[in-house]
Symmetry: D2
């Protein structure tokens, strides 16, 4: 008999339910008796002992459902060791609830921050298995995270819609894609949507290069230009600033986001009006795409298998087209950035896409 805790932490994304269903189905079909404790709203549920007992039925029909049936919340790693407003020691509280419920394992579905906390709990002696959830695809130790491809689909769809309107009006359009630190999502949605310029955090841009591209297009008869800009895109000048100076700069920042700054610069340099579209949180929502459903189900199945075999302390990841287990301490605290020299970037450049570098 196994007693398993389950929680989803951080920003929600597609296929969280599919992944949990994978874990639970695997346990259920294994023949082993299992009790599932679903902690509500991420680590908060574990801290305050808010949970629901769940059965196989609760996971039936949720393969295609967006969001998470457990709810989620951000519980910043930075403050995890600080007591809560009532003086509660959060780490101790999590441990106590874990032991009180006599859990054999805690399954955490989360992104970067969540993995730091997961690793901390592992260090504290809890049995942990994690699953790589994020639309950003920036988790270390895995080639792919679930949610990513679904987000690519939504962001691409936004670019597709903008394409027809940009072409009809001969305009410059910016589509702002999620991604404060990494550019995977913007790069893939930009390529899929046929963007002419793609600005990502890993490749600081020179606004002159951006304007050159727009004018080159115009000179060859293309009246419109589509620019995919990551939330965290950064200019060469800003990139040269110290972190402290960057932070200060943002305090007086007159734009809602970098896309509006880029738009303003293009306007000032060319006289062209630039429209900005921000699909925003829609990129985390809706039903997972088939790719993510299969992928999350596979990861869930392998997590279930690890639990049945009593192998703890791992994230279930994906490398070179195989599902692998990655030690949690390798994962925690690292980000998987886009390499500016990666093959895919070179290919994008072969296709004429401008990165502003």
């Amino acid at each position: 008999m196994k007693r398993i805790g389950l929680l989803t932490s951080g920003g929600d994304c597609q296929a969280l339910n599919a992944a949990m269903r994978g874990v639970v189905k695997t346990l259920a079909f294994s023949g082993e008796a299992v009790e599932i404790y679903g902690f509500l709203e991420g680590y908060k549920g574990l801290i305050y002992g808010n949970f629901q007992m769940l059965t196989g039925k609760d996971f039936s029909g949720i393969l295609t459902k967006g969001g998470t049936i457990l709810g989620s919340s951000r519980t910043p790693f930075k403050t995890i060791r600080e007591p809560d407003p009532n003086g509660l020691d959060k780490v101790e509280a999590m441990k106590q609830n874990y032991y009180k419920l006599k859990l054999d394992c805690l399954v955490v579905l989360g992104g970067n921050g969540s993995h730091k906390t997961a690793n901390l709990l592992r260090e504290e002696g809890l049995n942990i298995v994690t699953l790589p959830k994020t639309i950003d695809n920036d988790l270390w130790g895995t080639d792919m995270t679930f949610g990513f491809q679904s987000a690519v689909d939504i962001a691409t769809n936004a670019i597709d819609c903008i394409h027809t309107t940009a072409a009809s009006h001969g305009r410059v359009f910016i589509v702002e894609v999620m991604g404060h630190k990494v550019g995977w999502l913007t790069l893939n949605a930009g390529m899929a949507g046929g963007a002419d310029i793609i600005l990502v955090p890993e490749i600081p841009y020179d606004i002159n290069k951006v304007v050159d591209k727009i004018e080159e297009r115009e000179s060859t008869g293309s009246k419109f230009t589509i620019i995919a800009v990551a939330e965290g895109a950064i200019s060469k000048e800003t990139a040269k600033l110290s972190k402290k100076e960057q932070k200060k700069r943002l305090e007086d920042y007159p734009y809602p986001s970098v896309s509006y700054e880029v738009a303003d610069q293009i306007y000032k340099m060319t006289g062209k009006e630039v429209r900005v579209t921000v699909p925003g949180h829609t990129q985390r929502g809706g039903s997972p795409c088939p790719y993510d459903r299969v992928f999350a189900s596979r990861l869930g199945a392998e997590a279930g298998k690890l639990i049945l075999e009593g192998e703890y302390g791992f994230m279930v990841g994906y490398r070179n087209r195989e599902i692998v287990k990655v030690p949690l301490d390798e994962v925690a605290g690292k980000l998987k950035y886009l390499d500016p020299d990666a093959r895919i970037i070179k290919e994008a450049k072969l296709l004429g896409i401008c990165f502003g570098d």
Copy 2:
């Protein structure tokens, strides 16, 4: 032998191509010899004589294509009687090009402003037939415009995506839907997406009622609330101001749009963080939905029939489920607002939807 001019004017929308294809197919299959002059970028093309000769081939395969193969632009009615920067009399220029090409008829696909200009050209003696294009569904004289249902689909899809993320995080979310003057699109997308609160220009809102609804939902266990806000939503206080005062108010407006003001007010009154999503121009783009393809094709066919019969001076509209011809002077200069007492509003209220009134 008929010589037909064709132009698409104003903001683009879905099914413009489908409608033009309908006109041209009808003329082509009629057996009558036809020459098609496609004016580029709306009335601008007619003013400056920029056009392309088009054949049936050019309209093949465009039923499903978003945007407009002719390009579009806004040529404001307000300044149509003023000379252009080079001193050109725009109305005269349009007439001269019409007569020079010996056109039998000019087909205009446009929204409100475009219909004013179309009616002006009719008064000047040109043969005009128009088609009701706008995602806003605010054209007088027709129950429906093409583009509307496609925009409803896109805006609804955005709300669907937000729904899963709002539910997962127990948050208040605003989705800002296009519509500066009328609320048809917001109302329909809001109802289709299961929004709890819908704010439209025709029903000024009281922010207290909005907050009451959020709190009522929370008290009955619903942790999240979705609000669909039209771009032109307006509070009761603002609605009481004179147009002049309203304009002045907007000059110092600290928010990118009304949604952010609503979000801010809710935050100040409840302490709840409110996220805003703005699908923006995506609502005009992409492939037309099947409803719009059938509808635009039908309108196009009837426009073709009018041309073959030599009946000019009409918009082809839709009333009580029948395609009808509506005299242009009835259409021009009027807006079709949502009636706050309309049956559909009452039904929405029966379903528990709050309009803030």
Copy 3:
């Protein structure tokens, strides 16, 4: 305090859940105390007393969900007065369960057959309110039924997919669309998908006209032809047979469906291979489209209102863009056929679409 029974009967379709949600939300927000009895699997649940007590919670989040949370089944009207295998009088059983539960009203969501039974129960003295459910749009007394537009979307999407493959290979393709008796769905999906030929039950076809159209297209450079065929399409010769002869003909019918017969005839007459695609039951499934969600919600709200006002014996329908109540005895036993002289058919013909007549 109201006690309301609810059942969904016949083939399932999209927006059944949306419609039920509309009824229940309206009752819930009215302030009146309500008990909801959900009968399982259509009339069967009423006959055998299989039901679940439902609350508002059960209807939360189902606006976008396909199928029916109550399950459905076909309980043929033909045999409704015959005892069941165990000798049970079905009509009496339904009445007894209705009275035993002290229902104030039974809400039936169904199509043609289900309306006959609903009217029978009304004649037997029960309070009945119905909602028009069918992808076929063939219910008498209403311009529109929910499910229809969603099915149009799916069938159109199938034609869209076939279009690219037909164009690439220069082939003749048949897409078989649901509709044994009426052609609304085939007509609308055919027009939306750009079909060149549309065959519907109401317009018997001459295969020579079909072949002429294919050859006319070829002679003008169009190498492929798309044919939308309703399940119940019928040739002129077969249409002349008596019902008895038609039935006999079907007994020895060597084809899986009429599409294959049409394909075979075209092959024999032209030597062209014709591919047949049958989207089948997918046309009833999946999430309802935004149009259907709004429409079903509106109908549900008005049904809720009728119940609150104690007005029974009606179907809530839609005529001339207004929601109306239609006496059940007007609805039962009639089919709403496509009129071969309808404006939409004429428009389709203007566009060059061939109906084989």
Copy 4:
């Protein structure tokens, strides 16, 4: 100055246009002067010298377009060395046209059969570069082919639609997925759609195991079962027959396809009616999904690079998440089957999916 031939061969699929656009954009942006000869309808165009001169403009806007702008046809490898009806030596004809046009390279987008012919042409001394096109994902030498993920999306969507109707009616449903020889598509769509049973050619099925699974589901309260069946699924008994016996068996086969045989067997063994849905050719059509657009663009870019570098005789493939070049003689004549012991199969079994083995 480079002179490049381009052809698309075999059954069409999604992203053919995206891949060609990738090749042509790369050549165009390289600065090298290029002439593009687009051969029409596959190898036929090369044999009979039917081609069009194409420019960058022709490849603009086709990233999202399904099908192939060049048309395609099947030119069976089996008969490629036989003269055509007029006595023409096909291989010689292709060589002559290649040399007559002074081509530097021929780019072939095709699947299995097309690669055999491509390799033959290479052996005959032509410069060949190929791209792996097939919804079946069965090409040797590459982990992935373009078209595959788009087809998974469409087949999954069909299963999703069937899911709601199956659940509503408590029925057994079969969805027949494309794939005569390999099961990649059925496996992935089945997993993504939540199928309970998946039958693929590589794992012969025992109908008793299939029935057991249906009954096991029923005994645990699941009234419906979804079965994804590949076109080439095969029973254990049939698999034991010699190829000759198998062929003979098919001659008298009373079913349109194996799905109907499975349906019939289940009906006979359980009395349950089983519905069959065949999405058929829709699986090859429509706009490519974002994954395929990125993937095909990348392959196209790398093919363009090979051409610029004068490296011929390769298929551009994908292995371990990197784009690689694979010698054509390694690719030709081999099929990439699903390994019954593959990790993904084991994972599917962990999730409770039955393969009938």
